[in-house]
Protein backbone atom coordinates (compact mmCIF):
# COMPACT_ATOMS: atom_id res chain seq x y z
CA UNK A 1 0.00 0.00 0.00
CA UNK A 2 1.57 3.26 -1.04
CA UNK A 3 2.52 5.40 1.91
CA UNK A 4 2.55 8.82 0.39
CA UNK A 5 -1.19 9.28 0.21
CA UNK A 6 -1.87 7.91 3.68
CA UNK A 7 0.76 10.16 5.14
CA UNK A 8 -0.84 13.20 3.56
CA UNK A 9 -4.19 12.13 4.97
CA UNK A 10 -2.68 11.59 8.42
CA UNK A 11 -1.26 15.08 8.30
CA UNK A 12 -4.63 16.54 7.49
CA UNK A 13 -6.21 14.53 10.27
CA UNK A 14 -3.71 15.82 12.78
CA UNK A 15 -4.74 19.31 11.86
CA UNK A 16 -8.38 18.56 12.56
CA UNK A 17 -8.62 19.35 16.23
CA UNK A 18 -12.07 17.99 16.85
CA UNK A 19 -11.20 14.65 15.34
CA UNK A 20 -8.01 14.45 17.37
CA UNK A 21 -9.84 15.19 20.59
CA UNK A 22 -12.40 12.57 19.70
CA UNK A 23 -9.67 10.03 19.06
CA UNK A 24 -8.01 10.84 22.35
CA UNK A 25 -11.26 10.50 24.24
CA UNK A 26 -12.07 7.18 22.62
CA UNK A 27 -8.63 5.88 23.47
CA UNK A 28 -9.04 7.06 27.05
CA UNK A 29 -12.40 5.35 27.42
CA UNK A 30 -11.08 2.15 25.89
CA UNK A 31 -8.11 2.13 28.23
CA UNK A 32 -10.36 2.79 31.17
CA UNK A 33 -12.68 -0.02 30.20
CA UNK A 34 -9.79 -2.41 29.70
CA UNK A 35 -7.85 -1.84 32.88
CA UNK A 36 -9.85 0.11 35.40
CA UNK A 37 -12.00 -2.83 36.58
CA UNK A 38 -8.79 -4.29 37.99
CA UNK A 39 -8.72 -1.45 40.44
CA UNK A 40 -11.79 -2.48 42.37
CA UNK A 41 -12.44 -5.66 44.29
CA UNK A 42 -15.96 -5.94 42.92
CA UNK A 43 -16.97 -8.05 39.95
CA UNK A 44 -19.99 -7.46 37.79
CA UNK A 45 -22.32 -9.66 39.71
CA UNK A 46 -21.07 -9.44 43.25
CA UNK A 47 -23.68 -8.09 45.59
CA UNK A 48 -22.96 -5.65 48.35
CA UNK A 49 -25.82 -5.90 50.82
CA UNK A 50 -24.50 -2.99 52.79
CA UNK A 51 -24.96 -0.51 50.04
CA UNK A 52 -28.12 -0.90 48.03
CA UNK A 53 -29.04 1.77 45.52
CA UNK A 54 -26.45 4.24 46.68
CA UNK A 55 -25.82 7.36 44.61
CA UNK A 56 -22.21 8.03 43.59
CA UNK A 57 -20.10 9.88 46.07
CA UNK A 58 -21.82 8.53 49.15
CA UNK A 59 -19.47 5.60 49.69
CA UNK A 60 -15.78 5.31 49.14
CA UNK A 61 -16.16 1.72 48.03
CA UNK A 62 -18.42 2.47 45.05
CA UNK A 63 -17.28 5.33 42.89
CA UNK A 64 -20.27 5.28 40.61
CA UNK A 65 -22.75 4.12 43.20
CA UNK A 66 -24.71 0.89 43.20
CA UNK A 67 -27.89 -0.44 41.70
CA UNK A 68 -30.95 -1.94 43.34
CA UNK A 69 -29.26 -5.26 43.89
CA UNK A 70 -26.18 -3.73 45.37
CA UNK A 71 -23.93 -4.30 42.39
CA UNK A 72 -21.08 -1.87 41.85
CA UNK A 73 -21.90 0.43 38.98
CA UNK A 74 -18.33 1.41 38.28
CA UNK A 75 -17.41 -2.12 37.34
CA UNK A 76 -20.66 -2.78 35.57
CA UNK A 77 -20.50 0.36 33.52
CA UNK A 78 -16.92 -0.18 32.43
CA UNK A 79 -17.50 -3.83 31.68
CA UNK A 80 -20.59 -2.80 29.81
CA UNK A 81 -18.48 -0.45 27.72
CA UNK A 82 -16.03 -3.23 27.07
CA UNK A 83 -18.67 -5.64 25.94
CA UNK A 84 -20.44 -3.10 23.78
CA UNK A 85 -17.20 -2.07 22.13
CA UNK A 86 -16.11 -5.64 21.50
CA UNK A 87 -19.40 -6.67 20.03
CA UNK A 88 -19.66 -3.63 17.82
CA UNK A 89 -16.07 -3.86 16.61
CA UNK A 90 -16.52 -7.49 15.70
CA UNK A 91 -19.89 -6.83 14.08
CA UNK A 92 -18.42 -3.88 12.16
CA UNK A 93 -15.59 -5.98 10.86
CA UNK A 94 -18.04 -8.64 9.77
CA UNK A 95 -20.45 -6.28 8.09
CA UNK A 96 -17.76 -4.21 6.39
CA UNK A 97 -16.10 -7.37 5.20
CA UNK A 98 -19.27 -8.78 3.70
CA UNK A 99 -20.40 -5.43 2.33
CA UNK A 100 -17.08 -4.68 0.67
CA UNK A 101 -16.90 -8.06 -0.99
CA UNK A 102 -20.48 -8.01 -2.14
CA UNK A 103 -20.51 -4.45 -3.40
CA UNK A 104 -17.17 -4.67 -5.18
CA UNK A 105 -18.02 -7.95 -6.87
CA UNK A 106 -21.42 -6.77 -7.97
CA UNK A 107 -20.13 -3.45 -9.24
CA UNK A 108 -17.24 -5.00 -11.05
CA UNK A 109 -19.20 -7.83 -12.60
CA UNK A 110 -21.78 -5.53 -14.06
CA UNK A 111 -24.70 -6.60 -16.22
CA UNK A 112 -27.21 -9.15 -15.00
CA UNK A 113 -25.11 -10.37 -12.11
CA UNK A 114 -24.86 -6.85 -10.79
CA UNK A 115 -28.58 -6.25 -11.20
CA UNK A 116 -29.57 -9.35 -9.29
CA UNK A 117 -27.02 -8.90 -6.56
CA UNK A 118 -28.07 -5.34 -5.90
CA UNK A 119 -31.75 -6.16 -6.16
CA UNK A 120 -31.15 -8.68 -3.42
CA UNK A 121 -29.66 -5.88 -1.35
CA UNK A 122 -32.63 -3.64 -2.12
CA UNK A 123 -35.13 -6.27 -1.01
CA UNK A 124 -33.28 -6.96 2.20
CA UNK A 125 -33.01 -3.24 2.75
CA UNK A 126 -36.76 -2.79 2.67
CA UNK A 127 -37.29 -5.62 5.08
CA UNK A 128 -37.86 -4.30 8.54
CA UNK A 129 -34.52 -5.73 9.58
CA UNK A 130 -34.89 -5.04 13.22
CA UNK A 131 -37.87 -7.31 13.24
CA UNK A 132 -36.02 -10.09 11.55
CA UNK A 133 -33.24 -9.68 14.08
CA UNK A 134 -35.76 -9.86 16.86
CA UNK A 135 -37.22 -13.03 15.45
CA UNK A 136 -33.82 -14.56 14.91
CA UNK A 137 -32.53 -13.83 18.35
CA UNK A 138 -35.72 -15.06 19.90
CA UNK A 139 -35.85 -18.26 17.99
CA UNK A 140 -32.18 -19.09 18.08
CA UNK A 141 -31.70 -18.33 21.73
CA UNK A 142 -31.52 -15.08 23.54
CA UNK A 143 -28.34 -13.84 25.03
CA UNK A 144 -26.00 -15.88 22.89
CA UNK A 145 -23.32 -13.43 22.00
CA UNK A 146 -22.49 -15.29 18.83
CA UNK A 147 -26.02 -15.07 17.55
CA UNK A 148 -26.18 -11.43 18.48
CA UNK A 149 -23.01 -10.77 16.54
CA UNK A 150 -24.31 -12.61 13.55
CA UNK A 151 -27.63 -10.85 13.62
CA UNK A 152 -26.18 -7.37 13.93
CA UNK A 153 -23.31 -7.85 11.55
CA UNK A 154 -25.39 -9.60 8.95
CA UNK A 155 -27.70 -6.63 8.69
CA UNK A 156 -25.22 -3.79 8.67
CA UNK A 157 -23.49 -4.92 5.52
CA UNK A 158 -26.27 -3.65 3.32
CA UNK A 159 -25.34 0.01 3.52
CA UNK A 160 -21.66 -0.72 3.05
CA UNK A 161 -22.49 -2.86 0.03
CA UNK A 162 -24.46 -0.04 -1.52
CA UNK A 163 -21.76 2.54 -0.94
CA UNK A 164 -19.01 0.27 -2.21
CA UNK A 165 -21.12 -0.67 -5.22
CA UNK A 166 -21.60 2.97 -6.14
CA UNK A 167 -17.92 3.69 -5.76
CA UNK A 168 -16.95 0.66 -7.81
CA UNK A 169 -19.22 1.73 -10.63
CA UNK A 170 -17.63 5.15 -10.64
CA UNK A 171 -14.15 3.66 -10.56
CA UNK A 172 -14.90 1.33 -13.44
CA UNK A 173 -15.47 4.32 -15.66
CA UNK A 174 -12.13 5.78 -14.85
CA UNK A 175 -9.48 5.55 -17.49
CA UNK A 176 -6.98 3.55 -15.53
CA UNK A 177 -9.29 0.56 -15.30
CA UNK A 178 -9.57 0.44 -19.08
CA UNK A 179 -5.83 0.94 -19.27
CA UNK A 180 -5.36 -2.08 -17.04
CA UNK A 181 -7.55 -4.15 -19.34
CA UNK A 182 -5.55 -2.94 -22.32
CA UNK A 183 -2.40 -4.04 -20.55
CA UNK A 184 -3.83 -7.51 -20.36
CA UNK A 185 -4.73 -7.89 -16.69
CA UNK A 186 -7.35 -10.45 -15.82
CA UNK A 187 -10.59 -9.36 -14.20
CA UNK A 188 -9.76 -10.51 -10.67
CA UNK A 189 -6.33 -8.90 -10.94
CA UNK A 190 -7.88 -5.56 -11.88
CA UNK A 191 -10.32 -5.87 -9.02
CA UNK A 192 -7.67 -6.61 -6.45
CA UNK A 193 -4.89 -4.39 -7.66
CA UNK A 194 -6.71 -1.34 -8.90
CA UNK A 195 -10.22 -1.15 -7.62
CA UNK A 196 -9.93 -2.32 -4.04
CA UNK A 197 -7.00 -0.04 -3.12
CA UNK A 198 -8.98 2.90 -4.44
CA UNK A 199 -11.91 1.86 -2.31
CA UNK A 200 -9.78 1.79 0.81
CA UNK A 201 -10.47 5.38 1.72
CA UNK A 202 -14.24 4.99 1.55
CA UNK A 203 -14.14 1.73 3.41
CA UNK A 204 -12.08 3.12 6.27
CA UNK A 205 -14.47 6.01 6.70
CA UNK A 206 -17.51 3.80 6.66
CA UNK A 207 -15.99 1.28 8.99
CA UNK A 208 -15.39 4.04 11.49
CA UNK A 209 -18.93 5.29 11.09
CA UNK A 210 -20.36 1.78 11.32
CA UNK A 211 -18.98 1.12 14.79
CA UNK A 212 -21.26 3.63 16.51
CA UNK A 213 -24.19 2.26 14.54
CA UNK A 214 -23.38 -1.20 15.79
CA UNK A 215 -23.17 0.04 19.34
CA UNK A 216 -26.60 1.55 18.82
CA UNK A 217 -28.03 -1.67 17.39
CA UNK A 218 -26.68 -3.69 20.21
CA UNK A 219 -27.98 -1.20 22.74
CA UNK A 220 -31.37 -1.22 21.05
CA UNK A 221 -31.61 -4.94 21.29
CA UNK A 222 -30.36 -5.13 24.85
CA UNK A 223 -32.75 -2.36 25.74
CA UNK A 224 -35.62 -4.41 24.39
CA UNK A 225 -34.43 -7.39 26.37
CA UNK A 226 -33.24 -9.31 23.37
CA UNK A 227 -29.54 -8.65 23.46
CA UNK A 228 -27.08 -9.08 26.25
CA UNK A 229 -28.84 -10.77 29.13
CA UNK A 230 -28.64 -10.28 32.85
CA UNK A 231 -26.48 -10.56 34.84
CA UNK A 232 -24.00 -9.51 32.13
CA UNK A 233 -23.81 -5.82 31.56
CA UNK A 234 -23.86 -3.91 28.32
CA UNK A 235 -24.53 -0.24 27.84
CA UNK A 236 -27.93 -1.12 26.42
CA UNK A 237 -29.32 -3.14 29.27
CA UNK A 238 -27.76 -0.84 31.83
CA UNK A 239 -29.67 2.04 30.29
CA UNK A 240 -32.80 -0.06 30.21
CA UNK A 241 -32.54 -0.81 33.90
CA UNK A 242 -31.66 2.79 34.56
CA UNK A 243 -34.64 4.11 32.62
CA UNK A 244 -36.96 2.07 34.77
CA UNK A 245 -35.45 3.55 37.93
CA UNK A 246 -35.23 6.98 36.45
CA UNK A 247 -37.35 8.79 38.98
CA UNK A 248 -35.81 7.34 42.12
CA UNK A 249 -32.25 6.58 41.11
CA UNK A 250 -31.33 8.79 38.17
CA UNK A 251 -27.63 8.00 38.40
CA UNK A 252 -28.36 4.49 37.19
CA UNK A 253 -29.47 5.95 33.91
CA UNK A 254 -27.10 8.87 33.66
CA UNK A 255 -23.77 7.12 34.02
CA UNK A 256 -24.11 4.58 31.22
CA UNK A 257 -26.02 7.08 29.11
CA UNK A 258 -23.23 9.64 29.35
CA UNK A 259 -20.64 7.09 28.34
CA UNK A 260 -22.76 5.87 25.48
CA UNK A 261 -23.33 9.36 24.19
CA UNK A 262 -19.65 10.24 24.55
CA UNK A 263 -18.60 7.18 22.60
CA UNK A 264 -21.11 7.78 19.87
CA UNK A 265 -20.30 11.45 19.46
CA UNK A 266 -16.57 10.81 19.41
CA UNK A 267 -16.78 7.94 16.97
CA UNK A 268 -18.94 9.97 14.62
CA UNK A 269 -16.60 12.93 14.89
CA UNK A 270 -13.64 10.70 14.18
CA UNK A 271 -15.41 9.22 11.18
CA UNK A 272 -16.21 12.66 9.83
CA UNK A 273 -12.64 13.76 10.38
CA UNK A 274 -11.33 10.74 8.51
CA UNK A 275 -13.69 11.41 5.65
CA UNK A 276 -12.47 14.97 5.35
CA UNK A 277 -8.85 13.91 5.65
CA UNK A 278 -9.10 11.31 2.93
CA UNK A 279 -11.11 13.42 0.53
CA UNK A 280 -10.26 17.02 1.14
CA UNK A 281 -12.79 19.43 -0.19
CA UNK A 282 -14.12 22.59 1.32
CA UNK A 283 -16.49 21.76 4.13
Amino acid sequence: MPHGLWRAAARRLRGDRIACMALALIAAIALLASFAPLLTPWSYDSLDWQHLAQPPGTTAAHWFGTDRLGRDLFVRTLLGIRLSLLISLAASALSVGIGLTWGALAGFAGGRTDEWMMRFVDVLYSLPYLFIVIILSTLLGRGSIGVLLLAIGAIGWLTTARIVHGQTLALKERGFVEAARATGLTGPAILLRHIVPNLAGTVVVYATLTVPQMILFESFLSFLGLGVQEPHASLGNLINAGAQEMESAPWMLLTPAIFLVLLLVCLNALGDGLRDALDPRER
Binding site: D122, V123, Y125, S126, L127, P128, Y129, L130, F131, I132, I134, I135, L136, T138, L139, L140, P212, L216, S219, F220, F223, L224, G225, L226, I239, N240, A243, M246, E247, P250, L253, A257, L260, V261, L264, V265, N268, A269, D272, E282
Partner: protein, 307 residues
Protein backbone atom coordinates in the same frame (compact mmCIF):
# COMPACT_ATOMS: atom_id res chain seq x y z
CA UNK B 1 -42.99 11.03 -15.86
CA UNK B 2 -45.88 8.61 -16.08
CA UNK B 3 -43.79 5.77 -17.43
CA UNK B 4 -41.22 6.39 -14.69
CA UNK B 5 -43.98 6.17 -12.06
CA UNK B 6 -45.33 2.97 -13.56
CA UNK B 7 -41.90 1.45 -13.64
CA UNK B 8 -41.35 2.24 -10.00
CA UNK B 9 -44.67 0.75 -9.00
CA UNK B 10 -43.93 -2.32 -11.05
CA UNK B 11 -40.79 -2.84 -9.01
CA UNK B 12 -42.48 -2.32 -5.68
CA UNK B 13 -45.14 -4.98 -6.10
CA UNK B 14 -42.82 -7.97 -6.56
CA UNK B 15 -40.72 -6.66 -3.69
CA UNK B 16 -43.68 -6.84 -1.37
CA UNK B 17 -44.39 -10.35 -2.57
CA UNK B 18 -40.85 -11.37 -1.90
CA UNK B 19 -41.04 -9.89 1.57
CA UNK B 20 -44.20 -11.83 2.29
CA UNK B 21 -42.60 -15.03 1.06
CA UNK B 22 -39.39 -14.46 2.98
CA UNK B 23 -41.13 -13.75 6.25
CA UNK B 24 -43.37 -16.73 5.73
CA UNK B 25 -40.33 -18.88 5.15
CA UNK B 26 -38.35 -17.62 8.11
CA UNK B 27 -41.19 -17.84 10.54
CA UNK B 28 -42.37 -21.27 9.44
CA UNK B 29 -38.99 -22.87 9.05
CA UNK B 30 -37.61 -21.72 12.38
CA UNK B 31 -37.42 -24.44 14.99
CA UNK B 32 -40.16 -24.66 17.50
CA UNK B 33 -43.84 -24.07 17.16
CA UNK B 34 -46.37 -21.92 18.95
CA UNK B 35 -47.45 -24.66 21.19
CA UNK B 36 -44.05 -25.81 22.35
CA UNK B 37 -43.71 -23.17 25.00
CA UNK B 38 -46.57 -24.30 27.05
CA UNK B 39 -46.58 -27.49 29.03
CA UNK B 40 -45.93 -30.49 26.89
CA UNK B 41 -49.19 -31.30 25.24
CA UNK B 42 -50.87 -34.58 24.76
CA UNK B 43 -49.95 -35.57 21.20
CA UNK B 44 -53.57 -36.04 20.28
CA UNK B 45 -54.45 -32.56 21.48
CA UNK B 46 -51.44 -31.29 19.65
CA UNK B 47 -52.52 -32.96 16.43
CA UNK B 48 -55.98 -31.46 16.80
CA UNK B 49 -54.59 -28.00 17.27
CA UNK B 50 -52.32 -28.41 14.30
CA UNK B 51 -55.23 -29.46 12.15
CA UNK B 52 -57.35 -26.60 13.40
CA UNK B 53 -54.81 -24.04 12.48
CA UNK B 54 -53.75 -25.79 9.32
CA UNK B 55 -50.19 -26.52 10.42
CA UNK B 56 -50.34 -30.11 9.29
CA UNK B 57 -50.69 -29.25 5.62
CA UNK B 58 -47.65 -29.04 3.35
CA UNK B 59 -45.90 -25.68 3.39
CA UNK B 60 -46.88 -24.75 -0.13
CA UNK B 61 -50.55 -25.21 0.70
CA UNK B 62 -50.21 -23.15 3.84
CA UNK B 63 -48.51 -20.47 1.77
CA UNK B 64 -51.16 -20.26 -0.90
CA UNK B 65 -53.95 -20.24 1.64
CA UNK B 66 -52.19 -17.44 3.43
CA UNK B 67 -51.86 -15.42 0.26
CA UNK B 68 -55.50 -15.93 -0.57
CA UNK B 69 -56.53 -14.74 2.87
CA UNK B 70 -54.23 -11.74 2.58
CA UNK B 71 -56.03 -10.64 -0.51
CA UNK B 72 -59.10 -10.25 1.66
CA UNK B 73 -57.21 -8.36 4.32
CA UNK B 74 -57.34 -11.34 6.63
CA UNK B 75 -54.15 -11.97 8.50
CA UNK B 76 -55.47 -14.94 10.34
CA UNK B 77 -56.14 -15.55 13.99
CA UNK B 78 -53.71 -14.57 16.69
CA UNK B 79 -52.26 -17.55 18.45
CA UNK B 80 -51.28 -15.76 21.63
CA UNK B 81 -54.36 -13.55 22.03
CA UNK B 82 -56.89 -16.26 21.39
CA UNK B 83 -59.89 -13.98 21.33
CA UNK B 84 -58.68 -11.72 18.62
CA UNK B 85 -57.70 -12.00 15.00
CA UNK B 86 -54.49 -10.45 13.93
CA UNK B 87 -56.35 -7.93 11.84
CA UNK B 88 -58.22 -6.73 14.90
CA UNK B 89 -55.08 -6.47 16.98
CA UNK B 90 -53.22 -4.56 14.35
CA UNK B 91 -56.04 -2.15 13.60
CA UNK B 92 -56.30 -1.34 17.28
CA UNK B 93 -52.81 -0.05 17.47
CA UNK B 94 -52.10 0.99 13.90
CA UNK B 95 -53.62 4.47 13.89
CA UNK B 96 -51.48 5.51 16.80
CA UNK B 97 -48.29 4.10 15.36
CA UNK B 98 -48.91 5.59 11.95
CA UNK B 99 -49.68 8.97 13.49
CA UNK B 100 -46.50 8.77 15.50
CA UNK B 101 -44.41 7.84 12.47
CA UNK B 102 -45.84 10.36 10.04
CA UNK B 103 -45.77 13.18 12.56
CA UNK B 104 -42.14 12.45 13.33
CA UNK B 105 -41.18 12.49 9.67
CA UNK B 106 -43.01 15.70 8.97
CA UNK B 107 -41.56 17.40 11.98
CA UNK B 108 -38.08 16.27 10.99
CA UNK B 109 -38.53 17.64 7.47
CA UNK B 110 -40.02 20.88 8.73
CA UNK B 111 -37.15 21.50 11.09
CA UNK B 112 -34.24 19.81 9.38
CA UNK B 113 -34.41 21.16 5.86
CA UNK B 114 -34.74 24.90 6.52
CA UNK B 115 -32.08 24.64 9.19
CA UNK B 116 -29.73 23.00 6.73
CA UNK B 117 -30.41 25.70 4.16
CA UNK B 118 -29.73 28.46 6.67
CA UNK B 119 -26.53 26.81 7.78
CA UNK B 120 -25.32 26.59 4.19
CA UNK B 121 -26.11 30.23 3.51
CA UNK B 122 -24.44 31.36 6.72
CA UNK B 123 -21.41 29.28 5.97
CA UNK B 124 -18.41 29.81 8.18
CA UNK B 125 -20.29 32.07 10.54
CA UNK B 126 -21.72 31.27 13.96
CA UNK B 127 -25.17 30.03 12.88
CA UNK B 128 -23.40 27.46 10.76
CA UNK B 129 -21.24 26.19 13.60
CA UNK B 130 -24.20 26.06 15.93
CA UNK B 131 -26.29 24.04 13.53
CA UNK B 132 -23.45 21.68 12.73
CA UNK B 133 -22.73 21.02 16.39
CA UNK B 134 -26.38 20.46 17.25
CA UNK B 135 -26.78 18.17 14.29
CA UNK B 136 -23.77 16.09 15.29
CA UNK B 137 -25.22 15.70 18.74
CA UNK B 138 -28.66 14.86 17.45
CA UNK B 139 -27.31 12.10 15.25
CA UNK B 140 -25.25 10.55 17.98
CA UNK B 141 -27.85 10.44 20.73
CA UNK B 142 -29.90 7.26 20.72
CA UNK B 143 -33.65 7.66 21.10
CA UNK B 144 -33.82 5.46 24.14
CA UNK B 145 -31.56 7.95 25.88
CA UNK B 146 -33.13 11.18 24.68
CA UNK B 147 -36.62 9.86 25.34
CA UNK B 148 -36.19 9.28 29.04
CA UNK B 149 -34.05 12.41 29.32
CA UNK B 150 -36.72 14.60 27.74
CA UNK B 151 -39.40 12.91 29.82
CA UNK B 152 -37.34 13.59 32.91
CA UNK B 153 -36.85 17.24 32.08
CA UNK B 154 -40.16 18.29 30.57
CA UNK B 155 -42.31 15.79 32.40
CA UNK B 156 -40.99 15.48 35.92
CA UNK B 157 -38.93 18.58 36.31
CA UNK B 158 -40.95 21.20 34.47
CA UNK B 159 -44.24 19.37 34.52
CA UNK B 160 -45.31 20.78 31.18
CA UNK B 161 -46.00 17.52 29.44
CA UNK B 162 -47.04 14.06 30.54
CA UNK B 163 -44.20 11.66 31.13
CA UNK B 164 -45.75 8.64 29.48
CA UNK B 165 -48.97 6.90 28.64
CA UNK B 166 -51.77 7.73 26.29
CA UNK B 167 -55.26 9.06 26.31
CA UNK B 168 -57.24 9.07 23.09
CA UNK B 169 -57.95 12.53 21.86
CA UNK B 170 -55.22 14.12 23.95
CA UNK B 171 -52.42 15.02 21.57
CA UNK B 172 -50.16 16.34 24.28
CA UNK B 173 -49.25 12.77 25.06
CA UNK B 174 -47.72 12.49 21.66
CA UNK B 175 -45.54 15.59 21.84
CA UNK B 176 -42.51 14.10 23.55
CA UNK B 177 -42.60 10.82 21.62
CA UNK B 178 -42.82 12.58 18.27
CA UNK B 179 -40.05 15.03 19.15
CA UNK B 180 -37.78 12.26 20.41
CA UNK B 181 -38.28 10.24 17.26
CA UNK B 182 -37.82 13.26 15.03
CA UNK B 183 -34.54 14.51 16.50
CA UNK B 184 -32.08 12.10 14.82
CA UNK B 185 -33.81 12.37 11.48
CA UNK B 186 -33.96 16.17 11.62
CA UNK B 187 -30.30 16.31 12.56
CA UNK B 188 -29.27 14.10 9.67
CA UNK B 189 -31.46 15.99 7.22
CA UNK B 190 -29.96 19.30 8.32
CA UNK B 191 -26.44 18.05 7.77
CA UNK B 192 -27.27 16.51 4.47
CA UNK B 193 -29.12 19.59 3.23
CA UNK B 194 -26.26 21.84 4.24
CA UNK B 195 -23.61 19.78 2.51
CA UNK B 196 -25.72 19.31 -0.58
CA UNK B 197 -26.62 22.96 -0.94
CA UNK B 198 -23.00 24.02 -0.49
CA UNK B 199 -22.06 21.65 -3.27
CA UNK B 200 -24.76 22.94 -5.61
CA UNK B 201 -23.92 26.57 -4.95
CA UNK B 202 -20.48 25.89 -6.36
CA UNK B 203 -21.87 24.43 -9.57
CA UNK B 204 -21.25 26.20 -12.89
CA UNK B 205 -24.92 26.55 -13.66
CA UNK B 206 -25.53 28.52 -10.49
CA UNK B 207 -22.80 30.92 -11.49
CA UNK B 208 -24.39 31.06 -14.90
CA UNK B 209 -27.75 31.90 -13.37
CA UNK B 210 -26.17 34.67 -11.31
CA UNK B 211 -24.60 36.08 -14.44
CA UNK B 212 -28.07 36.53 -15.88
CA UNK B 213 -28.85 39.12 -13.25
CA UNK B 214 -31.71 37.17 -11.69
CA UNK B 215 -30.94 38.15 -8.13
CA UNK B 216 -29.55 35.91 -5.44
CA UNK B 217 -32.90 34.92 -3.97
CA UNK B 218 -34.34 33.75 -7.25
CA UNK B 219 -31.15 31.92 -8.14
CA UNK B 220 -31.32 30.09 -4.84
CA UNK B 221 -34.99 29.24 -5.04
CA UNK B 222 -35.35 28.27 -8.66
CA UNK B 223 -31.93 27.05 -9.68
CA UNK B 224 -30.14 25.77 -6.61
CA UNK B 225 -32.74 24.33 -4.28
CA UNK B 226 -34.18 21.58 -6.43
CA UNK B 227 -30.90 19.80 -7.23
CA UNK B 228 -29.78 20.30 -3.65
CA UNK B 229 -32.86 18.46 -2.43
CA UNK B 230 -32.00 15.32 -4.37
CA UNK B 231 -29.72 13.62 -1.83
CA UNK B 232 -32.15 14.63 0.87
CA UNK B 233 -35.03 12.97 -0.93
CA UNK B 234 -32.87 9.89 -1.44
CA UNK B 235 -32.39 9.75 2.27
CA UNK B 236 -36.12 9.79 2.96
CA UNK B 237 -36.30 6.06 2.29
CA UNK B 238 -33.79 5.13 4.99
CA UNK B 239 -35.37 7.79 7.19
CA UNK B 240 -38.70 6.07 7.00
CA UNK B 241 -37.09 2.75 7.89
CA UNK B 242 -35.44 4.42 10.84
CA UNK B 243 -38.71 5.91 12.05
CA UNK B 244 -40.52 2.64 11.65
CA UNK B 245 -38.03 0.71 13.75
CA UNK B 246 -37.50 3.58 16.12
CA UNK B 247 -41.19 3.80 16.90
CA UNK B 248 -40.84 0.39 18.50
CA UNK B 249 -38.51 1.78 21.11
CA UNK B 250 -40.48 4.99 21.52
CA UNK B 251 -43.66 3.10 22.20
CA UNK B 252 -41.86 1.06 24.82
CA UNK B 253 -40.27 4.05 26.50
CA UNK B 254 -43.40 6.16 26.55
CA UNK B 255 -45.85 3.36 27.09
CA UNK B 256 -47.89 4.01 23.98
CA UNK B 257 -50.36 1.32 22.92
CA UNK B 258 -49.32 1.11 19.33
CA UNK B 259 -48.53 -1.91 17.24
CA UNK B 260 -44.88 -2.15 18.29
CA UNK B 261 -45.45 -4.26 21.36
CA UNK B 262 -47.25 -6.88 19.33
CA UNK B 263 -44.13 -7.61 17.41
CA UNK B 264 -41.98 -8.34 20.40
CA UNK B 265 -44.78 -10.19 22.07
CA UNK B 266 -45.51 -12.17 18.96
CA UNK B 267 -41.86 -13.01 18.49
CA UNK B 268 -41.50 -14.20 22.04
CA UNK B 269 -44.66 -16.29 21.90
CA UNK B 270 -44.03 -17.55 18.40
CA UNK B 271 -47.36 -16.24 17.30
CA UNK B 272 -46.75 -16.72 13.59
CA UNK B 273 -49.72 -14.94 12.13
CA UNK B 274 -49.19 -11.96 14.36
CA UNK B 275 -45.52 -11.62 13.56
CA UNK B 276 -46.12 -12.01 9.85
CA UNK B 277 -48.97 -9.56 9.90
CA UNK B 278 -46.77 -7.00 11.62
CA UNK B 279 -43.93 -7.50 9.20
CA UNK B 280 -46.15 -7.17 6.18
CA UNK B 281 -47.87 -4.06 7.45
CA UNK B 282 -44.61 -2.38 8.29
CA UNK B 283 -43.04 -3.43 5.04
CA UNK B 284 -45.98 -2.12 3.05
CA UNK B 285 -45.78 1.15 4.91
CA UNK B 286 -42.05 1.44 4.22
CA UNK B 287 -42.42 0.51 0.58
CA UNK B 288 -45.21 3.00 0.03
CA UNK B 289 -43.24 5.84 1.52
CA UNK B 290 -40.16 4.75 -0.40
CA UNK B 291 -42.22 4.82 -3.55
CA UNK B 292 -43.42 8.33 -2.73
CA UNK B 293 -39.81 9.39 -2.20
CA UNK B 294 -38.81 7.83 -5.53
CA UNK B 295 -41.59 9.64 -7.34
CA UNK B 296 -40.61 12.89 -5.71
CA UNK B 297 -37.04 12.29 -6.83
CA UNK B 298 -38.18 11.69 -10.39
CA UNK B 299 -40.16 14.90 -10.36
CA UNK B 300 -37.21 16.88 -9.07
CA UNK B 301 -34.61 15.48 -11.44
CA UNK B 302 -35.64 15.11 -15.09
CA UNK B 303 -32.50 13.16 -15.83
CA UNK B 304 -33.51 10.30 -13.56
CA UNK B 305 -36.73 9.73 -15.47
CA UNK B 306 -35.21 8.51 -18.64
CA UNK B 307 -33.39 5.63 -17.02
Amino acid sequence: MLSYALRRIAVAVPTLLIIITLSFGIVRLAPGGPFDQEQTLNPAVRANLDRLYGFDRPLLVQYSRYLAALAHGDFGPSLSERDFSVTELISQGLPLSVTLGLAAIFLAILVGIPTGVLAALARGRSPDYLVSALAALGIALPTFVTGPALALFFGLYLGWLPVAGWQPGAPRYLVLPVVTLAIPVAAYLARLMRASLLEVLRAPYVRSARARGLGELRVLWRHALRPALLPVVSYLGPAVAFVVTGSLVIETVFGLPGTGRYLVQGAINRDYPLVMGMIIVYAAFTLTLNLAADLLYGWLDPRARRE
